[in-house]
């Protein structure tokens, strides 16, 4: 017997190792350890920690643990580089990004091998998916750099961006962060994950090689404390974070009130829905790409298989047969499907979760293929007999573990798909286009793949709903995260709390009425679910004129009123499904009715605020105009079709958040209120509005207009009372999807902090002093979230 005849019997693949010689030589040259990359050069390495290859448990490098002063130095370098970089022409920045893309391509194999060595992912993935997407991202954003002036008129870079990325796609996440930031004219300080810093450091060398100006990209390595220092640093204008929901929440709290712009791309427990008419064999391959891609360490991994009960058994049988063929092993072997888990602590976590589920009665089936005897490996695993209540169906396992459940009807499929705190991605398999699009529209997720999964492209937006974070990466929507129109380096913290924010409201009687109060007593109530309701506490407070005289009583709302209002808003969700034309009609009607009562509204503004008659009339006019404007826009804020892959329609749909909280500014009691409420409802949101505490009566007058204008019950709910207390309850409420607060200062900080619970999106700013131009696309962009639906075609 010789080798050939032996192999002819087994027909094994045999070993097919990718050479790591070049990478090992490079690493050997860095045996003194890597310093941080600051201001265009590597600084001397100190406070080193080990970086290991998880497939073999061997140390492959040592990198520096970034301290507060390292972070400060990097931020200073980025700040120093900012003026020149942001003043460069778009074309000049495009050339730099283009050069980065080219250099990444020229080093593609080196980067792929380094990535697999450091992270443990199969070389097929780093070679065929990660690194090509990195180059694509830089090319795409080179294009944006040239186009920003035309495509985003009036916008400017945010400033210095602190970017913190995870270990699952180290270089790709770097590209997702750095490319748009640089295209928009920002400079960055990036902290790669503690486990996987090496491709970021190689990228730093590429920046030098490609001639990127010093300080535009700075890289500081380290663990979570380094990231925390970056988040806390005063000189950072924006934080972009990809990672766990837990850390995202901490960052939300830490940045609350600092004025730092924030985007979070967090965890997921994404559904993979298979209907009975689906191409089951293809769905099986989809599952492979969904949960056994990158060892399942993918934030958008399709980790919850939801299959129609009628085909579930067949599907599971096909899945098991397929799983037997998955090859777990050496990441550098070209025939490896599933590589190493990134670190022992992650492996332990996966084991612990699966064992906990197993004890609870879940049926665990692990693919029987051989596992390497050393290194961090876990077999592809299918878990059945598991309910939505199981820890395995709720917790993000972040490993090659799939939980399978069944459904009876499309309704139930959607309900199960949405039965999670997360909302990052979903995959829907059916041959019925009507069903596919309906389910895609109704699943709450930022990315939906129809008959496909885990597809990425620089031209498409990626990011989550709910606790999967906010903000998008990629495409037009992603670039917008790195642009701003506000004043440079404005910090909310710097704005003093206005007197009115702290308006003291008292339930006690005894204030003198303002003159002219001899008409029949009008009682302003709360407005909840289309009804004028008395406050739960049975209390009212006097709204005062500038001289301290009462101009009328308003309801003193409390926590329960907010709770009731959120319930009413949630029940009114059909508003979002109404045609845009229908919403426009309602808004026009509102404008009509407001105008017919213009005089009365102007008088009320005067009475409360003491402004001149002319100014009061102007304010009413602005409010009428605003209603016309958003009525006009209701059916014109279109989504887009992104140019991604061939034979895909990648729909970017603007969807309403759902339930929005609105905290209106103190001054301009009508224009401020209307300017915030109308864009929100024009896009299909239902709102709970907290009017100016000092001047609540314009908003309470307004509800009679809502009644008269066919605004459906629950679409607008109005709760008057003490702003801070109501705002806190509203911002904390887990049934609220987004909050706008134009109060600035401490109120904004309070809202941002309180929003961390369910990571609702927030828009906090100081109240504008001039309302005439406070309208436009930016309001609509913030009143919606973008869902990208990837729809393939072709037969």
């Amino acid at each position: 017997m010789n080798k050939i005849t032996d192999i002819l019997r087994s027909m094994d693949y045999g070993p097919a190792p990718e050479s790591d010689e070049q990478v090992r030589a490079w690493l050997a040259g860095k045996s003194g350890g890597f310093g941080h990359f600051i201001g265009g050069a590597f600084v001397a390495a100190s406070a080193l920690f080990d970086v290991t290859n998880p497939a073999r448990g061997e140390r492959i490098a040592r990198v520096a643990q970034g301290s507060e002063s390292d972070v400060a130095a990097a931020v200073a370098a980025a700040r120093k580089a900012l003026p020149a970089w942001s003043r460069l022409s778009g074309d000049a920045r495009a050339r730099h990004l283009y050069a980065l893309a080219r250099h990444v391509q020229k080093r593609e194999r080196f980067l792929a091998v380094l990535e697999s060595l450091d992270n443990g992912k199969p070389i097929r993935e780093s070679r065929d998916i990660d690194v090509p997407l990195v180059a694509r991202h830089f090319y795409h954003h080179a294009g944006w750099a040239s186009l920003i002036a035309d495509e985003f008129p009036g916008r400017r870079p945010v400033g210095v961006c602190g970017q913190i990325i995870p270990w699952n796609f180290p270089l790709l996440m770097l590209a997702w962060k750095i490319a748009p930031a640089l295209a928009a004219g920002n400079t960055v300080v990036l902290k790669p994950a503690e486990y996987t810093p090496l491709t970021a450091l190689a990228f730093a060398e590429i920046c030098v090689e490609a001639g990127l100006p010093a300080g535009v990209v700075n890289i500081v390595t380290g663990d979570g404390t380094t990231g925390a220092a970056l988040v806390a640093h005063d000189g950072v204008d924006k934080i972009a974070f990809t990672g766990s929901t837990e850390v995202g929440r901490a960052i939300r709290q830490a940045t609350a009130g600092t004025g730092k712009k924030l985007s979070l791309e967090l965890g997921g427990k994404s559904p993979f829905v298979v209907f009975e008419d689906a191409d089951l064999d293809s769905a099986v391959e989809g599952v492979v790409d969904a949960i056994w891609f990158n060892q399942g360490q993918v934030c958008c991994a399709g980790s919850r298989l939801l299959a129609a009960e009628s085909i579930a058994e067949k599907l599971n049988a096909k899945l098991r047969a397929r799983m037997i063929n998955l090859r777990v092993g050496d990441p550098l072997d070209k025939s490896t499907d599933v590589g190493a888990i990134v670190a022992p602590v992650q492996l332990e976590r996966i084991k612990r979760l699966v064992e906990a589920g197993e004890r609870d009665g879940a049926h665990v089936w692990r693919a029987p293929g051989p596992l390497p005897t050393q290194g961090c490996f876990y077999p592809p695993t299918l878990i059945t007999e598991v309910g939505p209540a199981s820890i395995l169906a709720r917790e993000e396992i972040f490993g090659p573990v799939l939980t399978a459940m069944t459904f009876r009807t499309p309704e139930e499929a959607i309900a199960l798909a949405n039965n999670t705190r997360y909302g990052l991605a979903a995959s829907v398999w059916t041959e019925n286009v009507n069903r596919a699009l309906e389910v895609a529209a109704r699943i709450k997720a930022g990315v939906v793949w129809i008959n496909s999964t885990n597809l990425f492209d620089a031209a498409a937006g990626f990011g989550g709903y709910r606790e999967s974070g906010f903000g998008r990466e990629g495409g037009r929507e992603g670039l917008a995260e790195y642009l701003t129109s506000g004043p440079p380096a404005a910090k909310l913290a710097a704005t003093k709390p206005t007197k009115a924010n702290a308006t003291a409201v008292s339930a006690a009687p005894g204030l003198a009425p303002a003159p002219g109060g001899d008409a029949i007593d009008r009682t302003a109530k709360l407005y909840i679910g289309g009804k004028q309701t008395r406050p739960d506490a049975g209390a009212s407070y006097a709204a005062l004129d500038p001289k301290g005289r009462s101009v009328g009583l308003a309801g003193l709302g409390n926590r329960k009123d907010i709770r009731n209002a959120v319930e009413a808003a949630t029940k009114a969700a059909n508003w979002g499904a109404a045609t845009a034309h229908n919403r426009a009609q309602v808004l026009y009607y509102l404008a009509e009715n407001l105008e017919s009562r213009a005089r009365e509204f102007a008088d009320r503004i005067r009475a409360q605020t003491g402004v001149a008659a002319r100014e009061a009339r102007d304010e009413v006019e602005i409010a009428v105009r605003r209603a016309f404007y958003y009525a006009g826009f209701a059916d014109k804020y279109d989504g887009a079709i992104h140019a991604t892959k061939t034979r895909f329609v990648t729909l970017a749909m603007n969807e309403p958040w759902g339930v929005m909280g609105i905290i209106a500014p103190v001054a301009a009691p009508l224009a401020g209120f209307v300017s915030m409420v109308l864009p929100a409802i024009a896009m299909g949101n239902c709102v709970i509005a907290i009017p100016s505490a000092a001047h609540p009566l314009s908003a309470t007058d307004f509800y009679t207009l809502l009644d008269a204008s066919d605004v459906p019950a629950g679409v607008v709910n109005i709760v008057t009372g003490e702003t801070a207390a109501l705002a806190k309850t509203l911002a904390e409420h887990e049934g609220v999807d987004a909050v706008w607060c134009f109060g600035g200062g401490e109120l904004g900080a309070l809202v941002e902090r309180a929003s961390a619970g369910n990571l609702k999106a927030t828009w906090t700013r100081a109240a504008p002093t001039e309302w005439a131009d406070e309208q436009g696309r930016d309001y609509l962009r913030r009143a919606t979230q973008v869902k990208n639906i990837w729809t393939p075609y072709g037969e």
Partner: protein, 330 residues
């Protein structure tokens, strides 16, 4: 596994329990979704997911040789041309390569020689004493638009001339018009005409256009008793592709699950390189396993591929890249 010899051509499907067919059952294929873009994605990523190198690659290339249906189906075929092809079929590899690969005790032969019916007698004679079977196209190859009676008579003729395997073509119109009864009856009649010879049903995937049609046609052909299903005549605009192959393999896997019968698969048309051979062997191994990597369940319809396989094996043995002229032509 064929224990007697690695390379002895066993005839298409001859090592297996022969397909007894099944009644026409449309529920086996009509509800089955075939999503073209998902199939294409799987087909595109599959070759990149596996790699076969060095001595493993050499062995796989030798295996590919044994799966080739060495084919000539041209208007200018002559007995002389067929005799030359048969000589190559007996000795697909140079002696020195066989020696170097350590295969002298059991040298490889190709899976079959595939010719037109009028060339069968020549091929049978030229292959006498070898165990290489003769396959004949028949039944109105390549379009199948001759009257059924004549097509059956053509099968009779080829079998009578000594063909071991008959590569029939189906009437594409039956598929395009979803006339499953007509398709079933046609293939059943052909199977009967084949007698002991094994029937390889050419589905002409490129003419059927949609992958759903291809899946349905595969299933009907198997229900009607086909021993092999084959992608193409080589004369369609598009011939063997990975997506076509993948869909047909899924169909024959489903058929096995329904009936227990293992049906063979033959891609034909457009497979030219050693790289193609490896890609299709990977496909067979991944989708169906070891049984389908042997020539009683897997054939590659090709004429030019053999030379490339020889060149690659020569490179493995000598470390130098070889030139076509150094290998005997077919």
């Amino acid at each position: 596994m064929n224990e007697a010899s690695q390379f002895e051509p066993a005839g298409a499907g001859h090592n297996r329990k022969r397909n007894a067919g099944a009644p026409l059952e449309t529920s086996w294929f009509e509800p089955v979704g075939v999503n073209a873009s998902a199939v294409e994605r799987r087909a595109a990523s599959l070759p990149a997911r596996r790699s076969v190198k060095k001595e493993f690659q050499a062995a796989w290339l030798v295996r590919a040789i044994t799966c080739i249906d060495l084919t000539t189906l041209a208007g200018d075929d002559t007995p002389g041309r067929v005799v030359r092809l048969c000589a190559k079929a007996r000795h697909p590899l140079d002696e020195d390569l066989i020696e170097a690969l350590g295969l002298a005790d059991d040298p490889p032969q190709v899976g079959a020689v595939c010719v037109y019916p009028t060339m069968v007698a020549t091929a049978v004679k030229a292959l006498a004493g070898s165990s290489v079977p003769v396959a004949s196209v028949a039944a109105g190859f390549p379009t199948g638009l001759t009257p059924l009676k004549q097509r059956l008579a053509e099968i009779d003729y080829a079998v009578g001339e000594g063909a071991d395997e008959i590569d029939i073509v189906i009437t594409r119109a039956h598929v395009l018009n979803r006339d499953w009864n007509a398709l079933y009856d046609e293939v059943s009649a052909m199977r009967e005409a084949c007698g002991q010879a094994h029937l390889k049903a050419i589905l002409a995937a490129g003419d059927l256009r949609t992958l759903r049609n291809l899946y349905a046609a595969s299933m009907v052909a198997m229900q009607a008793g086909a021993d092999f299903i084959k992608t193409s005549t080589g004369k369609e605009e598009v011939n063997a592709t990975l997506p076509y192959s993948l869909v047909m393999l899924r169909a024959l896997r489903d058929y096995r699950d329904f009936t227990g019968f293992e049906i063979g698969f033959k891609p034909a048309g457009g497979l030219r390189s050693a790289k193609d051979a490896l890609t299709w062997l990977i496909l067979m191994k991944e989708e169906l396993g070891l049984n389908w990597m042997q020539n009683d369940l897997f054939r590659i319809g090709a004429s030019a591929m053999l030379t490339d396989l020889e060149r690659q094996l020569s490179h493995y043995v000598t470390g130098r890249y070889s030139a076509n002229d150094r290998h005997a032509m077919a």
